[in-house]
Amino acid sequence: MKYLLILLVCLLPGFSYAGEATDLAADPVLEKRMIGLAENLRCLVCQNESLASSHAELAEDLRREVREQMQNGLSDQEIIDYLVSRYGDFVLYDPPVKSYTLVLWYGPFVLLLLGGGVLIYQLRKRKSQITETELSEEDTQRAAALLNETPELQNNPKAPKV
């Protein structure tokens, strides 16, 4: 009886923990979801690091915030909207198409078209500059003579190496 009582007392701390908020790290699914979301968000202190990988204090606070909002049942999009409303589009690594991001999104295509246009223009211009010239009778004979000479040159060891 005495031992049973001691055993029960030993178990008490276990019961006392019940009812408290579960440890955040103890929920690997939520942690994974949080990291997945944070990987696409920028840390504002060290701007080339994501919220998932940054060790800045603000990043830790924001991860905690994201975790808590997830526990409160908010969707990923709602959490992103919350952060954007606080920190602006800058937190997104994937900035939305807006009037001031048009150059960012479509600028490269404009440059590609421009470059392609210039290339085609230059090629056409060059083509028109090349004039086909007929070979004169004299030149044809000279060419034929040169071509006929070649085998002899190859057989002649004294001939200069081409």
Binding site: E57, D61, Y87
Partner: protein
Amino acid sequence: MMRFILPFIVFMIMAAFMYVGLSLDPHEVPSPLVGKAAPAFTLPQLHEPSKQFSTQDMKGKVWLFNVWASWCTACESEHAVLMELSRQNLVPIYGMDYKDKPEDGEAWLRSRGNPYVLVVSDREGRVGIDYGVYGVPETYVIDKQGVIQYKQIGPVTPENLSEKILPLIKELQAK
């Protein structure tokens, strides 16, 4: 002639972009909060933790909300500017001690002087997140309706105080 003009135009366009790029500070992120209602909060006061301060108390007033911390080195350069401003009595300055031990914050103010009407303590940095704080010091100008009208990222300097903040405050107070 075109051989020279075209590359020159291209060069000028690139130079213009680069010139603007040189003067941009990547740490200055435009705040989406300007023009929106200042997030409401209730926090314990730094000097009297048993008392609370709420943004609700500030309705009908134009005020400066300055986020600082004892660990923040840039706050030291700003401190003199805020002291001078508080002496002029033009606008009430409310401070928020951000992610700081209250005793450290108190000691900091005791040794340097206190420009604030009242200081709240945001130990966990939760209100800071609500205000989009990512680098202290940050200063907000909040109008009578509780709308954020301006956000200063980094220390308030005499220049931006006289050029931007004070004219804005005068305009808002007259409304």
